[in-house]
């Protein structure tokens, strides 16, 4: 760590991991509710558990992105952060807002929460992933603006690298497209159409810029490959991401009342969305193969390679599986969608944040190069436990999805939803057991931070 102010990232990373734990615990609750329908009912109904599960994920990934930016931007810009105090203040505001939201979900009836927080004045609540009270959404915008100001000023006054510029473009895009969450027309079709401008243009658009930038940064640091080479790769990857991903939004416009031409536009462009993810895999492996030094942090390199592979499998392959409109006609809104969602989020965004934490945390904790070999071995075990269990969670959900599509949508005598759910329960049980393995991996991951010692810098 070259600049003192980089260390504000530590707060963000710790909070991110804490929210990660909450996300997984509520995931396990939901998983159990799939097979034991009355579990925790009516205290924590499924919809409440799901809000905590998805919103905690989004917030901890945002915490991770912000922490990553605070860590890498000063080093790339070759100067201290514009205002470390602002970064710390915004952290506590963001954490308090996130904590209050989760507590409110768990303790207050959602309809009462909507009433208490003035959802009648500007209704934005009750839409998937955007369930936060309107006042919290405004808070998120304020935090994002302060954050962008801080990062922007640092970049403006310092060295302007491609990695920093791409990160900044991605983060500005993130803030801009979030503004669509305030637009909630009474016409459901329009509501759904612009809801995707936040959701799709985040995860299959600007977030990929953030992901690419973070991956490029860690690869420069750990492999010592020439910056020019890495930055060229970065531009090609994000160019492909947006060229395919922007019109790829069309794969959400097949069945929501929008014109039929979206079936062609969406199919063609989203079918190409795996390309940037495949290039990310090639990128990570090529850079590590061409490395000019042996970085002592082997765990960080493992996470970086894992991100490439798992993002390609989860976002690329499992996305392609159901993206063509004739296929999607049968798979839309089934467990196939859930399977894709799990591995894509884990492979692309969870793993890139964990890559950055793995690289930066030892340095912020004052270690010369990396954690001790023993700590890294524990961390690498957690990598394999979480990654392999996520592969199996995805496979079980895919199995459930194929059967669901067959029984409910495709066979000659389609069965009602709940009857099908009972027939495919075995897959939900296996998913739940595998979820426990994932939790074990997460516990091991946290333990790895408490294994002492360090490796020297290369």
């Amino acid at each position: 760590m070259q600049y003192q102010s980089q260390s504000v990232a530590k707060l963000y990373f710790i909070a991110a991991i804490a929210l990660f734990v909450a996300q997984i615990l509520f995931g396990l609750i939901m998983g159990l509710q799939y097979v034991m329908g009355d579990f925790l009912f009516p205290e924590i109904p499924f919809n409440v558990a799901r809000m905590v599960h998805t919103n905690a994920l989004i917030v901890w990934l945002l915490m991770g992105f912000m922490g990553a930016a605070y860590y890498m931007v000063p080093e790339e810009a070759e100067r201290e952060l514009h205002s470390p105090k602002l970064a710390i203040a915004l952290f506590w505001i963001f954490l308090a807002a996130a904590g209050a939201t989760v507590l409110a979900y768990l303790t207050i009836n959602y309809a009462d929460l909507a009433r208490l927080t003035g959802n009648d004045l500007l209704p934005t609540m009750g839409r998937e992933f955007l369930e936060q009270p309107t006042i919290i959404k405004i808070g998120i915008v304020v935090v994002a603006l302060g954050f962008l100001f801080n990062i922007g000023m640092t970049i403006l006054k310092g060295r302007k690298t491609t990695i920093n510029l791409v990160m900044l473009v991605g983060l500005v895009g993130l803030a801009v497209f979030f503004l669509f969450s305030f637009y909630n027309p009474t016409n459901l079709v329009q509501d759904k159409y612009f809801w995707w401008w936040t959701v799709h243009l985040w995860v299959e658009g600007v977030w990929e810029l953030i992901l690419g930038s973070m991956l490029a940064y860690v690869l420069i640091k750990t492999t010592g490959v020439d910056r020019e080479v890495i930055e060229k790769w970065l531009y090609v990857i994000i160019a492909m991401a947006l060229i395919t991903g922007i019109l790829g939004t069309g794969h959400h416009f097949y069945w929501i009342g929008t014109p039929e031409y979206w079936q062609i536009v969406g199919s063609v462009f989203s079918a190409m969305e795996p390309i940037p993810f495949f290039m990310m895999t090639l990128f990570a492996f090529n850079m590590v193969n061409a490395r000019r030094r042996e970085h002592p942090n082997k765990a960080a390199v493992l996470w970086a390679l894992g991100t490439g592979v798992m993002a390609f499998l989860g976002a690329g392959v499992w996305g392609f599986l159901h993206t063509l409109s004739p296929v999607n006609y049968y798979t839309h809104g089934s467990q196939i969608t859930a399977a894709h969602g799990h591995m894509a989020f884990y492979g692309a965004y969870v793993m890139i944040v964990l890559t950055m934490i793995s690289y930066a945390m030892p340095l912020m904790r004052g270690r010369a190069g990396a954690n001790s070999n023993k700590a890294q071995v524990v961390e690498m075990w957690s990598f394999w436990l979480m990654t392999v269990s996520m592969v199996f969670i995805t496979l079980f959900l895919t199995g459930a999805g194929i059967l669901q599509v067959w029984l409910q949508r495709y066979s000659d005598s389609p069965l009602p939803f709940m009857e099908v759910q009972e027939k495919i329960a075995i897959f939900y049980w296996m998913r739940e057991y595998t979820g426990l393995v994932f939790l074990a991996g997460l516990v091991l991951y946290i333990i790895s931070f408490f294994v002492k010692g360090e490796e020297k810098a290369a």
Partner: protein, 144 residues
Amino acid sequence: MSGAFTKSTARNIFYGGSVFFFLLLVVLTFDTMKSLPKRDHRENITPQVVLGKKLWEDHNCIGCHTLMGEGAYFAPELANVYDRFGQSTEAIVAFIQSRPAEGVPGRRSMPQFNMSTEELEAVAAFLKWTSEIDDANWPPNIQG
């Protein structure tokens, strides 16, 4: 990557390509918005339907159900529930009204939301309007 293909070429493809395709998305969005009135039957969005959508959101129905395939996969699709319930808004009202507050032992059950009759009718009206949107014949059959 060879020497002829430089970083600045890659950068130009990124900025040029992104701007081009974003503008294309904007153009297609205008076209979509222009053609929607024929598909969404907005002339039928009465104040009751508007209230129904608000209640749909305030009770976080999307947290368990899908609506036109979007949402959670824990409970049945509702964009076609009006048709599945024999084109009866009364059946929808009766179903929501009769959910037991303490749930059903061992099974998934919808919470009891304690809505008034007026509110329940608004939710049913919203679901009826939704069922009439021209959504390219999705879902494939009545089971959703």
